[in-house]
């Protein structure tokens, strides 16, 4: 596709449920990032995939959060046993090279009731 695609765009779930967020990066982009943005806040780094290297998971806030990426393609961010504090917009971005320009998707807005 022309840009980074994220789905779902909106997700409302009940506390304790698991959710899965999907990111389809720009074709050929080796780097893929997930960020979390709470209302009125900046971007909180979650995880970074670069090619076939081991991902940098240093930003994942707890073991309820995990992410996978298939080669240089789609990535999924999974949040298990969701809590109300997980409510935020989850942004995915891809880049042609490390430290290069990030192209962001529109985000997945998660609301945990």
């Amino acid at each position: 596709g022309a840009g980074v695609s994220q789905s779902p765009s909106n997700k409302v779930t009940e506390k304790g449920k698991d959710v899965e967020l999907r990111c389809d990066p720009i074709s050929g982009h080796t780097a893929l990032y997930w960020y979390r943005q709470r209302l009125g806040q900046g971007l909180e780094f979650l995880i970074y995939f670069q090619g076939n290297s081991a991902p940098d998971k240093s930003g994942l806030p707890s073991d309820r959060f995990s992410a996978e990426r298939t080669g240089e393609s789609v990535s999924t961010l999974t949040i298990q046993r969701t809590q109300q504090e997980d409510s935020a917009v989850y942004l995915c971005a891809s880049s042609l090279r490390p430290s290069g320009e990030l192209f962001f998707g529109e985000g997945s807005r998660l609301t945990v009731l």
Binding site: G42, Q50, D56, S58, P98, S99, E101, F104, G105
Partner: protein, 112 residues
Amino acid sequence: QKEVEQDPGPLSVPEGAIVSLNCTYSNSAFQYFMWYRQYSRKGPELLMYTYSSGNKEDGRFTAQVDKSSKYISLFIRDSQPSDSATYLCAISGYSSASKIIFGSGTRLSIRP
């Protein structure tokens, strides 16, 4: 200490004013410095990208990096209402596998 700190704002200025947005960072090894602009309910988009000390100009926007002070700035000249957005600084690059880290963002409003 956070790796990058940004003045939170919000900032409100009249149309035509010069705007100064600032960030400081903690690790002198960072090499790449970026400014992103984010409109409401949209993903951020790259505005400026620099990798050395000094100034870089693009139209009404100037990015300034002072590595000795670990300080980066974005100046907007002749500000327009369409510049109203959240501006995020971002840093990266102390290794080839380095992640990109964002500041907390400054919300800017330009009054017509």
